[in-house]
Each structure stands twice: as structure tokens, then as C-alpha cells.
Symmetry: C2
Subunit: 125 residues, 2 copies
DNA sequence: CAGCATCCTGCGTGATACTG
DNA sequence: CAGTATCACGCAGGATGCTG
């Protein structure tokens, strides 16, 4: 049955952004290409506290996942020392507004002080 | 330092919707209150295949989380047999458009057949 | 510099059984 | 009906160390 009954787009979306950093990486890349270590440095755990940064294994996986679904593109300059840049694809760019909407909503409803219990208050930045 | 350094809204959002069903529950509730079992029945694994439905433990937790962050409200009729309804709060409703945006994007970019490799193609049906 | 290989751990999720 | 109690498992994610 070619009858691929579509899954709820929301579920697909959930799968796509599964992982703690994918959204942030996309957002981080919205202003242009960045190198592996730049992304890594920009993804401090929350803000600048807990740990130094993400484990390379994790970042690597996120990056690959993002690339495999066509949101970002990997450009290897093939030089030494290595230089690799990641940038949003057209599809990735089309996703930025969605992230922006998320940010906007989160900014107004998640950071607001009117919350009864902000147990999920994340660390910072 | 009362300086509660705001976290990136995206991270807060990620935390908020952590869990496979939260977004879908919110979306499911956008049309009005629903009972526990209605929600449960509506949340078939993907569509109507794999498993019958969500484990009560899981649904219960998601519901509590959603309620604790003020997105939904629990109304217990205190009757017997038990009758409990869940409905979106004002805040929850304000979140619906965001989910709508996600759905829209996902519908256009995640279900589209123009994808090179849809390795993440959700099970669907 | 940009990764990969390994090990380890917490917790999110699933399945089943039980209760008010 | 609307949950809670338990048990178990897979996997995302963290920490190191190593390589081309």
C-alpha cells in the first residue's frame, strides 16, 4: 500500500528536532555559516555555567541528523588543519521563522514572572 | 544577582514540550475539553497500528506536566464513575498558533515527497 | 581542528497489574 | 473511568581519550 497515511506533522516535527541542540543549532546558523568549533562554543550548556560545552559526540550526531534531513549543509574545505562549515539549506532557512515563532512565544510565556512554578526554568544565557 | 539570566527561549520550549505527546495533546485539546480516555484513544501510536495506545502512566505524566506549567487545566467532576476533563488554559490556547505553525511547516517540508532521503520518515500510516 | 571510539548513566517510554 | 505501582529497556547525552 502506497497509501502512506501521513503521520501527524507534529510527530514528524518532534522527531526532527529530537535532541537538545538541534533547534539552537539552526537558530545559531540563521546568520550564516559557522564552523564546528564556533557552533560548539556557542552552545554552552545553558549559558556559561555547568559544563564547558557539548560533547563532540553529541554535536556531531546532531549535525549529522540535521544534515541528513536536509536542514543544514556541510562544507568541508579539505584543508589542513581541518576547516568545516555548516550552513542552513533552503529548507533550513524556511524553518527559521518557525523557530522564531517558538522563541517569541517562549519569551513571552516561559520567561514571564507570572509563572506559578518555574521548575523548568532553564539556566540561562 | 537577582539576575535571573534568561535561558534561550528555545531551550525552555524544548523542555516544555519534552515528551512525545505533549504537542499532540495540546493540539487535540484545541477544539475543547476532552476526557482522559478520549485523549488516550485519540493518541494512537502514529495512526492506528503499532500499539493500541499510550501507557496510562505516560499519558498521566504528560498531562500533569502540561498542567503544572499552566497549559492545560484539569477538571474533576468528582463523580462515580470518575469523570475528568482536560482543557486548554488561556496560556495553552495562546500556544496553539505555534503548534499550528509547526504543523504547517511540517506538513510542507516533512511529508513532502521531494525529500532526498527521508530516513526519518515516520512510520506513518 | 574536526571529528570518531568507548564506556557509563539517567530517564523517558512501554507493558502489565492493581485500586478508588 | 481515571489513574497509580512496578519492572524493564533503549537510547539520548555526558566524559575521556585518540586520530587524520
Amino acid at each position: 500500500m502506497a497509501k502512506r497515511e501521513r503521520v501527524c506533522p507534529v510527530a514528524a516535527f518532534q522527531k526532527m528536532i529530537s535532541g537538545k541542540y538541534k533547534l539552537r543549532i539552526v537558530w545559531d546558523l540563521k546568520n550564516g555559516a559557522r564552523r564546528y568549533s564556533e557552533i560548539r562554543s556557542g552552545l554552552l550548556r545553558g549559558a556559561a555555567s555547568s559544563s564547558p560545552e557539548i560533547a563532540p559526540r553529541v554535536l556531531s550526531r546532531e549535525l549529522k541528523a540535521l544534515a541528513s534531513m536536509g536542514l543544514i549543509e556541510r562544507k568541508d574545505y579539505g584543508v589542513v588543519p581541518p576547516k568545516v562549515e555548516y550552513k542552513l539549506t533552503r529548507k533550513g532557512k524556511s524553518f527559521v521563522p518557525v523557530v522564531a515563532a517558538i522563541r517569541k512565544w517562549g519569551d513571552r510565556h516561559l520567561m514571564a514572572p507570572d509563572l506559578p512554578q518555574t521548575s523548568f526554568a532553564v539556566a540561562a544565557e
